[in-house]
Symmetry: C2
């Protein structure tokens, strides 16, 4: 008898049997092989059908809201409000990619007609992006919808025309299965091949999936340890495949003296909400806040403590997150010059399950080194008191490159802050002004990546350009019209095309 997977309610710490068995190797192989077959079917359908499929999945997810939310609550400890918002976001992502599929720019169509050039007469060249093949998706524990089975990796890989095989996260197997059922219902509703999306359970099945010769890419959001495990498997593959992983991010936030003078309470409340939202378990959580020292800075710290002490009890996602949060807390507390302004290590006031207290630690900028700037994944922020811009710049250098960098400033600061912007842009993927990095907007222009160790800095897992991770260029030289894809034929006008170097809009 194979062991079945368990699930644990983080609010109580009580584990129950899910009845789900780990997926055996041969079943994993079969799922991948059928995905290859599904891809062929998908290739025979047009972009309108693909968009319809994505919208049907969005509808199926939303129509199961009342079923999905309580399952996810019991497996993640996240609030109903947060999970409702996340499911809305997941459905929105599928619909936004449907829009992008219909719009067609993502194909990057280019046509260069034959003709004379400085290198003599040259052939007709036509290029567009085509789907890469079956994609493996490994979601994260902190986003059971938006970065898991029905998440952005799944949506963007499907939008690109690829089949997807998801490895269910061990911390929310029931949510994964229920989400998968919703997706399958959406596929059926749209008349798309059922095997366009598959799911496997258990770590061994995930390893088998990544090793499968037919897999062409892996989208991953999760822990560094799991990422290293999967990368080691990829290294052993005969044919290497891209691994799109998001790793860690400390997300510095800077408050100027003028901003503090103008709206100290407002920033304290906003920052407190950003640090404690989702129990601080967001990759974009601002983990380190640079605040001017002196009386205003002390007042701000007090206001921040008030804001954060009023937050809901912080239930962490699982025992592993709890352990690593407490280890990070311990290391930060022991780092030189650090004092605690709010909270204590150990179980929070509401001590059921994996609950912890929200924490504020503080240190002088002059004392900041690498020991102060590790990510603590949970409701903790380190306030760094800086005396002047010189101290600020020096302390920022100890902060690892991140997904985001935020700055609260006033109109009067702009001239003085402008010289800092290039360095902040080099050290992050997104610059946030007078706002907070959490609550990542999903839109065309969004970007979710940053220089190492945040992610591989060339790609993004949020926003429309996430689709490009799962496409590859293919060129046709002097091809007969009948053998070209419809989008590359003469006279097609259903997507923007660059013709002889000139960008033309669709008509």
């Amino acid at each position: 008898m194979p062991l079945t997977l368990t699930t644990t309610d983080p609010r109580t710490g009580v584990s129950t049997d899910t009845g789900i068995e780990p997926t055996p190797d041969e079943v994993v192989d079969g799922i991948v092989e059928r995905a290859v077959g599904a891809m062929e079917v998908m290739e025979g359908r047009d972009r309108a059908a693909r968009a319809e499929m994505l919208r049907a999945i969005a509808d199926a997810l939303e129509s199961r809201r009342d079923l999905l939310i309580p399952i996810a609550q019991a497996e993640t400890g996240l609030t109903e409000q947060r999970l409702n918002g996340e499911l809305t976001r997941s459905a929105f992502q599928f619909r936004l990619f449907a829009d992008a599929v219909e719009e067609g720019s993502f194909l990057e169509i280019m046509i260069d007609h034959s003709g004379p050039t400085p290198m003599g007469p040259q052939p007709d060249m036509r290029r567009m992006l085509v789907p890469i093949g079956p994609v493996g998706v490994f979601g994260s524990s902190n986003f059971p919808f938006a970065f898991s089975v029905p998440g952005g990796d799944t949506a963007s890989a499907l939008a690109a025309g690829n089949p997807v095989i998801v490895k269910a996260h061990s911390a929310h197997p029931l949510t994964s299965r229920a989400s998968f059922d919703a997706i399958r219902a959406g596929l059926e509703e749209a008349g798309a091949p059922a095997e366009a999306v598959g799911i496997v359970y258990g770590q061994a099945a995930g390893s088998r999936l990544v090793a499968h010769p037919a897999l062409t890419a892996v989208g991953f959001t999760g822990s560094l340890g799991a990422a290293q495990h999967l990368r080691a498997i990829i290294e052993k593959r005969e044919r290497p495949i891209p691994f799109y992983g998001e790793l860690q991010s400390v997300n510095p936030l800077i408050v100027t003296e003028a901003a503090l003078e103008a709206r100290s309470v407002e920033i304290a409340q906003g920052l407190g909400a950003s640090v404690t939202g989702s129990a601080g378990q967001l990759c974009t959580k601002p983990g380190i806040a640079f605040v001017p020292d002196g009386e205003r800075g002390d007042d701000f710290a007090q206001q921040l403590a008030e804001a954060m002490s009023g937050a809901e009890p912080a239930v962490l996602l699982n025992g592993r997150v709890l352990d690593s949060f407490q280890a990070a807390e311990r290391e930060l507390e022991a780092a030189s010059g650090v004092e605690s302004l709010l909270g204590t290590r150990g179980p929070g006031a509401d001590s059921g399950g994996f609950t912890v207290a929200a924490r504020i630690l503080r240190v002088d900028a002059a004392a900041v080194s690498a020991e102060h700037t590790a990510e603590a994944f949970g409701p903790l922020v380190l306030v760094v008191s800086y005396r002047d811009e010189h101290e600020l710049v020096a302390a920022l250098e100890a902060v690892p490159d991140s997904l985001t960098a935020s700055i609260h400033l006033e109109e009067s600061d702009i001239e003085c802050i402008a010289p800092l912007i290039p360095a902040l842009g080099e050290a992050s993927g997104r610059l946030v002004f007078n706002g907070y990095p959490t609550g990542v907007r999903v839109s065309w222009a969004q970007h979710h990546g940053g220089p190492w160790p945040a992610t591989n800095s060339l790609h993004t897992s949020v926003g429309i350009t996430a689709i490009r991770r799962f496409l590859r260029p293919l060129a046709w030289q002097n091809a007969p019209q009948a053998l070209l894809p419809a989008e590359l034929r003469d006279g097609f006008s259903g997507a923007p095309r660059r013709i002889d170097g000139v960008l033309m809009l669709a008509s």
Copy 2:
């Protein structure tokens, strides 16, 4: 006294001292550090200035044609005509990237205004691509201009706004130095920072370059062994960087029965020229040709032998290329069922230096396996005789994925060939119809990459999209206008922009 680099004339095999010393470690470090400074200067200049810089480099290269060609001839053994064409191509590449820089699409500007969404009110998001940082370029021996110091990697990395440090190829150090001098003259002419392009000599200097913390990407064209050496260095870096390498490609070419009937002599002559041009030392050389068996096939083989025996003597680039060509020849000759139709192993008729004979080998499709489908870098083609489409499809499966796949067909074949196209597209980066894969057109729509082991299939080293390898996305959230790059400000119209999801042309 440090040893100096030697250079060898492949036409005679005679080596001479160049007087060039290998670059010491501390000099390499200084070059990279000054490149970082040059990047800051480049960031302060606009796109018009960048385009001017690229055009000035093109002009400087062409104005030194009479100097550069003889140096390259003596170091590569390539013909004057070929080298003249290659220099023209190199200059054209710089000018084409200048056009692309001015056109501005490569910035991928997207702006999403703030406003209500299904997830509530959302902030203003603006995104574009920014330069990644100093890029290391390792050129190839077979393209002393177009894939070396003044090659596509250098042009695309500069066009993206990055400084470039080139490692001079050990087989053409003098050509590298003379090309570098031309580029420096172009930079000076355009008022660009001289340190925007640097050069280092010697393998140790190349290793030091790749290990330097400030390097952000490597563009590589060359041997698998050198690639593995550099990848091992990258693996040891604290911060990983992308390695864009092109490795090997056998480039299958298919001739249908109808095409053979219609234009056997024409195809034989075209294929012969493609196999022997540049002594067969092109990554896109068609190395394996599938031809119907029987009388027509025999005639074709005879015609091909006539075409290739009339080719100029094949002078290989250097002793290493000679050794590996002869090893590949030997292995192919020993593979089961292979017969020789033209040439013999060993020195060619004109036996000075690294000269070899052009070779045609032949095998039945039914006998083809992996031992027949390795790349032989030099003037050799394996003719595979197939009896029917079934044999053709089966034999194609033994061919490793390649940069290109070519097919010679007639109008009457289209219906019957159409089902083969998806598999050929999966196994290559470029499909060539009724033509030859060599003589790669440089244009917007061109693509030079293919599934592993040809390259990492997601990127290209030829064509305008090569620029994207050296750019990364950066997003601005709610940024004050004054802190935005000019291209992201309200009212800018000097490049295409996507605004609230709608693509807008420049005006």
